[in-house]
Symmetry: C2
């Protein structure tokens, strides 16, 4: 692989129609050097997470083509799902993974944002490391009000888009583009249909309301009907998955609720998985070099 | 790497003198195509587990050269350690890992066994898939009586070596050579110095005395002085590590003893680690393709 590898993880507001999801992902196939690593669709969220990797140039082209296809095929006026979203392509993060720098990813986000506006007329917000103001760093803040509240939100000066007119695209809303470190999208389903329990647990475990640093969380309803704590782990090296799982388990117990199952959305770094094994098995001195496959592919 | 990859895991009866261990492992460096994947030494066991990989021809050469060096540098009359052993090189398993077949590994074991006897005059037993009789399949049965009881054991017709005279090599004892599927060597330390507790737990969890299939276990003393359940997992796909750890934890509780820590000796397949994460996090639908590194190295 290229020495300067970028990951791009568009979140698309379609998780139910396989033909539409396929058509959107296929747009990436036209770009030389862009690889589709993973596509994960969630019916209840009505959302698909597409993971791409390649050099910066291929990621820029792939992000624009995928967005063009999603804008053509998705009408947000008819979109319903248990996950907040602003537009047909809700968010496009660029992530430095193999030698690429965060500065390169910020530049990439800015370039793609400009192209999305000039060629597709979808207004663009920049977030995370690419944010243009402190109140625009956190995705949940930008997304607050969702597609349905976007027209009104855009009329406020502080929420004018970074590129484009302050009016939502009629069917595609707006898109949030940015650069961030790798994160893990992680959902934990509780053995209850009571979404307020998941919301209370989410509040207890997330950084913004006094919980674990590097953790964003919200309570939603899962495809199976179970209440779900939907989590982003911003730095799993410092706040490992097992700690988050165990805290969710303990917090849910306050309501007499157990954990049914959990789910990793998209990709996860090997080290984050090894840390779970270390925690459960109380492993001493375990090194990733002990994983057979890690040795054979060196 | 070659399409027909064999793993070879010599267990050498030296875990305390780094210069001796180094000299033994270095013998492999002379063989083109042979790679040293891992060396793990245990002072309390006074034993080192060397993991090699390469094509069949390079593994045959490496096994013989390593054995020659170990025979030259180790005197079993002075060897003490908390792990049963028959000789300077205690056991040499060949493992099919990348396209190689079990039949190839059996043939390799037979060839190496013959060479070890004819060139080094160390008598050889074949075990596991390479065994020449049912009572020689299990390593613990062959090893029973250890180096100290070997001269007497060899005088029994049923324990005549497969190659060589029925007398131990004076300083190197005998070597057991064979072919087997990949196994995981796994030690669990209990928070007690009472070795009989580890022995009782080992009996409870192992196949041979009514416990889990695919599990061999014995109670020994670890380097830190803690009682240790020393385990071989013969098929971690069917009897996963988390199940074994959890059963050890429960069995130890009967004696009021907790698990201090555990340790994977040598290499472990990625799938075995993923299964621990699946168990602890109650993961639903998690595929190894979701591991970022697995994607990038494809």
């Amino acid at each position: 692989m290229s020495a300067r590898l970028v990951e791009c993880v568009p979140n698309v507001s379609e998780g139910r129609r396989p033909d539409v999801i396929d058509a959107i992902v296929k747009a990436v196939g036209e770009v030389e050097g862009a690889r589709v690593l993973n596509v994960q669709s969630d019916e209840s969220h009505n959302r698909s997470v597409v993971t791409l990797a390649g050099d910066a140039e291929s990621m820029a082209q792939a992000a624009v083509l995928l967005t063009r296809q999603a804008v053509a095929l998705i009408d947000m006026n008819e979109h319903r799902g248990h996950h907040p979203r602003l537009g047909a392509v809700d968010v496009i993060p660029f992530v430095p993974i193999g030698g690429a720098t965060m500065d390169e990813c910020v530049a990439l986000a800015r370039r793609v944002g400009e192209t999305v506006w000039t060629t597709l007329q979808v207004p663009v917000y920049f977030y995370a490391e690419a944010a243009t103001a402190p109140h625009r760093v956190r995705l949940p803040d930008i997304r607050k009000g969702e597609f349905e509240g976007l027209a009104e939100k855009m009329r406020q000066a502080e929420w004018a888009p970074d590129f484009g007119n302050p009016r939502p695209h009629p069917t595609a809303g707006a898109v949030v583009v940015g650069a961030r470190r790798p994160l893990i999208a992680y959902n934990i389903n509780l053995r209850t249909t009571d979404v307020p329990v998941a919301q209370a647990v989410a509040r207890a475990i997330r950084e913004s309301s006094g919980g674990l640093v590097n953790v964003q969380a919200m309570g939603v309803q899962s495809t199976s009907g179970l209440a779900q704590v939907s989590i982003n782990v911003l730095d799993a090296a410092r706040t490992p998955l097992a700690r988050i799982f165990d805290l969710v388990r303990v917090e849910a117990e306050r309501y007499g609720v157990t954990v049914a199952e959990s789910e990793i959305v998209g990709l996860i770094p090997l080290d984050a998985i090894l840390d779970v094994a270390r925690a459960h098995l109380r492993l001493r001195d375990f090194d990733r070099g002990q994983v057979l496959e890690a040795q054979l592919t060196e």
